[in-house]
Symmetry: C2
Subunit: 215 residues, 2 copies
């Protein structure tokens, strides 16, 4: 019922509403949102209905209250702190990115085994030895972590993170992780994402793909 796809749609609605809000709009209709996110208006209303969000018949939805409700549902009222393990290419890109804070996500620290990566510069996100992960996570009550280490190290790192108390994982390593304890793992496989595009370009031309968003 509350599956991943549905949550992702809610998050997208929220983003679209942010934009509309900052453009000065006050209310919105289901089909505006549908357009902005790329779904049908029915889908928007069904999703809202599922979470008990209601608007005004004929009047649409008040953007401000809608945002409040979505933020409440999505737990976006307080900033969420996150750690990264692996300060290489991907880890560094994530640390340098300013877009997380705007969405209420704070990258609290990064952990690595390579001393060359350690960094305590004021203002930067600290990059610390992996051994400090457990203490850090406990001290800051962190439940979410990103895995950005090479695939061969990923399983071991996962186990270590779970032992430290991490419950939710965003995993960039292209392997299927095994977890004993209860946790949530979301995998991002960038090679796969690119290969998917390649497939549809090679094999999709004859089947008249017109400007299709495949994800």
């Amino acid at each position: 019922m509350v599956n991943k796809k549905c949550i992702i749609r809610l998050l997208r609605y929220k983003n679209a509403l942010h934009r509309l809000n900052s453009l000065g709009f006050v209310r919105v209709f289901s089909d505006n949102l549908a357009d902005a996110v790329g779904v049908t208006a029915s889908q928007v209303r069904k999703d809202f209905s599922l979470f008990g969000i209601c608007g005004n018949k004929r009047g649409g939805y008040q953007i401000e209250t809608l945002l409040e409700k979505l933020n409440h549902i999505l737990g976006k009222n307080e900033q969420q702190k996150v750690v990264i393990v692996g300060g290489g290419n991907i880890g560094a890109a994530l640390m340098k990115y300013k877009g997380f804070e705007k969405e209420g996500v704070k990258i609290a620290a990064c952990f690595d085994i390579d001393p060359a990566k350690y960094n305590h510069r004021e203002g930067d996100i600290p990059v610390l030895p992996l051994e400090q992960l457990k203490d850090f996570v406990r001290q800051h009550h962190i439940r979410i972590g990103v895995i950005a280490v090479p695939d061969i190290a990923a399983q071991q790192v996962l186990d270590f993170m779970l032992a430290a108390g991490i419950k939710g994982i965003l995993n960039f390593a292209p392997i299927r992780l095994r977890a004993a304890s209860d946790c949530v793992i979301n995998n991002v496989n960038l090679v796969l994402e690119l290969e998917t595009v390649i497939y549809f370009i090679i094999n999709g031309t004859e089947s008249s793909i017109n400007n299709r968003h495949i994800g």
Copy 2:
């Protein structure tokens, strides 16, 4: 019929087979693959059946021939060349990553508007002025491109890439792109991926999530 999810599964089977192959295995059963990829054995056989792939009853599948068939279906027999537009955090991370070549994906060049990013060093992937995109794409017959520019620039960059002849896009900018001509767009929204994990950690604890891969 041949939807994105199915293609992604095929790509995952292919990856799993690669691993098994390099471990010295010669044949594989549907439930091995299912395990490796996180689906049911029925699903594996159904997917293969859909593409006319068949193994031997009681004998499973010959890994080598299976890989050949998958590579043929997925168009992975020749190396695919790709360009990146935007040599910032994400663009640079992608360029430094060695994992694409192994999967037959070659990042041919990157394009940027910031002269500080230009790079002609022998051995490195070249970073060139955006104006050179069209010629480069034509000369190298490139059909796939990655968008790794700030969201405000993304639509304009897309239009430029399509005009240059690019047909397939992997887009990292967190906006919904509009495309007039026929093309395929695959969106990767990393903030969303992280927010999804956060949602399931905040709201999922009571509903007894056990070690669930949500993507």
